[in-house]
Symmetry: C2
Subunit: 185 residues, 2 copies
């Protein structure tokens, strides 16, 4: 028996802006002015901690979401995006404190949301396309939807790392914590 998969589209521009405006504040509440090493806890070799992630989010504000939106909405013939460097923060965050990164992320996000609002996007605009260097043709709406949940995907990663940090310390309670039961974490 085959099942019908119903694909629900949920994107809403103002709703997305509401969340995008909040996530930098949530990151700040968790990681500004820490005495202990919460921002530097990862899941082992070649995994990211919160410090790495905020650097990555900053680079996204600088080179990914809004700059790609400008390409989609602009007049140039070539709509191909510049490839995004997922490891740029390894250089760009050197010598900066977590507090500085959090402030930079927040400032960049606010400026980008101002620009996004200034575009006064219509449904026709949201359907306009660009060329992702690996994924091919994508719409402005898909770009904005991905931006909206990208902070959350990384908050998911950070929260997973922090839960695992006390994996051995919770004793028998590990049975009740899904992240400590799943093999893949």
């Amino acid at each position: 028996m085959a099942f019908l998969t119903i694909k629900t589209m949920n994107f809403h521009l103002d709703k997305s802006i509401e969340l995008l405006a909040r996530t930098p504040q949530a990151y700040k509440e968790l990681f500004t002015g820490l005495q202990y090493d919460w921002a530097h806890i990862n899941e082992g070799a070649n995994t990211w901690n919160a410090f790495d992630i905020v650097g990555h989010l900053i680079h996204g504000e600088q080179t990914d979401w809004v700059p790609r939106g400008r390409i989609i909405l602009g007049n140039q013939a070539d709509k191909t995006f510049v490839p995004f460097d997922r490891f740029a923060q390894e250089q760009l965050s050197v010598g900066k404190t977590m507090d500085e990164l959090l402030e930079e992320f927040d400032q960049l996000r606010q400026a980008n949301l101002q620009e996004l609002k200034s575009w006064n996007l219509s449904p026709t605009d949201l359907a306009k396309t660009g060329i992702h260097p690996d994924l091919g043709t994508v719409t402005l709406q898909e770009l904005l939807a991905t931006w909206t949940i990208h902070d959350m995907a990384h908050l998911n990663q950070i929260s997973r790392a922090l839960v695992k940090h006390y994996a051995q310390d919770v004793g028998p309670w590990h049975q009740y914590i899904r992240l400590l039961k799943d093999k893949q974490g």
Copy 2:
């Protein structure tokens, strides 16, 4: 070939208090005063949204972590904890707004952390035990470690639900988002 699993204990009391003091603020930044339905997005039937989760966290502050710590440290002969009701919020949150729940959670957490600090716990205290109705003997340190990561485990759950909310909207980017690739979410 057998591998040796090294079980690292990471618990640190002041470090735990640092995180416990921050998580209610992070929840507030994400979910206070929302115009849109972010606090009511779940992962489908019989899953929790942020509104459910904050109600659950409130009930934990009222009946679980600190009350169980009092039992462990107190003089009564019977150290058995009262069972925790994982569904209490279904009644307790009725008629309340998300903003009210977030404020209540924050106030309860602050009061509980004041009480925790007033205990001036020694290593001997942290090794004292109580009886969990299902899990058996547990130490005060295990209880406090579990409390510390419990907010994060639920932030992991909330962030997963919000990412999935735009699962169909991100288009080809779903390939880059681990939560949208994993079958189990």
